[in-house]
């Protein structure tokens, strides 16, 4: 599903964010991306979204070298990759329902699809009773659920999560991880960048660790730190 072939990324000013990274992530996998700040996790996710282009090497998604996609095809790529962020990125002037519907509206989905898909996904994330509320009226955990619903409503092949629990308390975090786990069970590949040691240790999934842009560990049922 995702393949990095000796990928390097250097930003202007010679800052090397990724160094000859090779990695393969299969369909339906759940991968934790760990490492200290500045280790290259964000760059990894940006390369997958084609927010950035690799300086060297190839990034393949579903068998296609995404650096060679025409700029008009990038939206197509992004329709297949859902995104969840630490800061949710919800639109404050739209209700929960409208926030989720927006993701389908702007890719030109017909109204009939929107009116069936949105309630379904809100049911999945357990927010049906809050459909008419605005983000400011929700707790952090609820907001993150909305953001996950928005990322998943178009049934993408891949879901990227960048510190999705970074702003949440431990109890809420568990709920979010359960939700991501359910989504993973539908066959969606999930890549989650995180600093949260407890959830990585508890989930026992594949762990990929980066340090200064290099792959330092790739463990099938790993924990957060090698020594811990």
């Amino acid at each position: 599903m995702i393949r990095f072939e000796t990928v390097s990324k250097a930003y202007k000013g010679e800052v090397v964010a990724l160094r000859e990274l090779s990695l393969e992530i299969g369909k339906g996998e759940f991968v934790f991306l760990v490492g200290p700040s500045g280790s290259g996790k964000s760059t990894f996710l940006k390369l997958l979204l084609r927010d950035e282009v690799a300086t060297d090497g190839r990034v393949l998604v579903a068998g296609r070298d995404i650096a060679r996609l025409g700029s008009w095809k990038v939206p197509q790529l992004r329709r297949n990759i859902g995104c969840v962020f630490q800061d949710f990125k919800l639109l404050p002037n739209k209700t929960v329902y409208e926030n989720v519907a927006f993701a389908l509206e702007v890719i030109g989905r017909p109204r009939s699809i929107i009116t069936t898909q949105v309630p379904q996904i809100l049911d999945l994330v357990g927010l049906t009773p809050k459909a008419g509320n605005f983000p400011a009226e929700l707790s952090g955990g609820e907001q993150q659920r909305v953001s996950i619903a928005r990322a998943f409503v178009n049934r993408p092949l891949i879901l990227l999560a960048d510190e999705p629990t970074g702003n949440l308390d431990p109890a809420t975090t568990v709920g979010i991880m359960r939700l991501l786990d359910r989504i993973n069970r539908t066959g969606t590949t999930i890549v989650m960048a995180t600093h949260d040691q407890r959830i990585v240790d508890a989930m026992r999934r594949r762990v990929v660790e980066l340090d200064h842009g290099s792959l330092v560990r790739d463990q099938a049922r790993g924990v957060y730190g090698v020594g811990s």
Binding site: L49, P75, R79, N80, C83, K89, L91, G108
Partner: protein
């Protein structure tokens, strides 16, 4: 259909959000295009007014008291030149015809008309040469003929009118160009504010894979609306000018030949609307290229 509803809604929200800038953009487009349309309309007025004179290249004025044989002599010479193909046509203006024209030109000065009679006016020939370049040579040939008082190249008169209108036209065009460029900047700026106001939406749209056109269309529609409304105002201005010119044309004086038709107004309006729409779209495209990094 929901797509159009979406674009319409987004465009309207955005226009209302930056109402002040929107109005400024519309007004500048309006004023500049009104100037532009006004110039075109005046141009048509002058074109119609000078059309009658276009072909007449010179006029031979006979002495006021030139006897008939001398007049006949000039006429025969002209007829001979017509036969040889050097002159396309000529027209004789009798004293009575000259007087009729005189009264028309000076109708605002009855005292002058009062004190003038047909016999103090010279007769003349209006000549259309076959080749414009030969005007001077042909004219000189008549200069020395008996009974000829003076030669007047009508071109000189027309040239003077055209000189003045050309000058006025350039002043107006310069103003119109300056205003049009400022309207482009104003619309660009409105679009910049609009993209800034909607940066969260744009970020989410790009994230979930909205196509580039989907992101851009509401902004382009916004520019288009501003350009077209501005052009609409300009058409109103041009129409008012047409009405004013209409009052001149009915006065039947020197300006009798200066008029504009509804046809002139129609094509000028179309052109103005087209330019307004183009300016709106182009300005928003420039704005989008500058402020929407892809």
């Amino acid at each position: 259909m929901s797509r159009f509803a979406y674009f319409f809604r987004e465009t309207m929200i955005s226009l209302r959000r930056n109402l002040g800038m929107t109005i400024a953009g519309i007004l500048t487009v309006g004023v500049s295009l009104a100037l532009f349309g006004g110039i075109l309309l005046m141009q048509q007025l002058v074109n119609h007014g000078t059309a009658k004179w276009k072909d007449v290249k010179f006029e031979i004025f006979m002495n006021v008291d030139a006897p008939q044989p001398q007049i006949d002599g000039v006429e025969q010479e002209l007829a001979a030149l017509v036969d040889r193909g050097e002159i396309r046509s000529f027209e004789f203006l009798s004293k009575e015809e000259a007087y009729a024209e005189f009264t028309r030109i000076f109708e605002d000065e009855p005292a002058l008309i009062e004190s003038t009679t047909a016999d103090v006016l010279p007769t003349s020939f209006r000549v259309v040469p076959a080749e414009v370049e030969n005007t001077k040579d042909l004219a000189l040939r008549f200069d020395a003929m008996p009974g000829v008082d003076k030669l007047l190249t009508a071109q000189e008169v027309i040239d003077r009118i055209i000189d003045v209108t050309t000058f006025v036209r350039w002043v107006f065009i310069t103003m119109a160009v300056i205003l049009l460029s400022s309207s482009i900047f104003l619309i660009m700026n409105t679009i910049r504010l609009a993209t800034f106001a909607r940066r969260r939406e744009i970020e989410v749209m790009k994230l979930v894979g909205a196509s580039n056109s989907f992101v851009r269309i509401p902004f382009m529609a916004e520019g288009l609306v501003q350009g077209v409304i501005g052009a609409g105002l300009a058409v109103g201005g041009v129409y008012a000018l047409k009405l004013v010119l209409g009052t001149i044309e009915s006065t039947d004086g020197l300006w009798r030949d200066f008029y504009v038709t509804s046809g002139d107004f129609t094509w000028i309006s179309m052109l103005v609307l087209l330019i307004g729409a183009a300016i709106g779209v182009v300005a928003s495209l420039i704005g989008l290229f500058r402020f929407l990094d892809d």
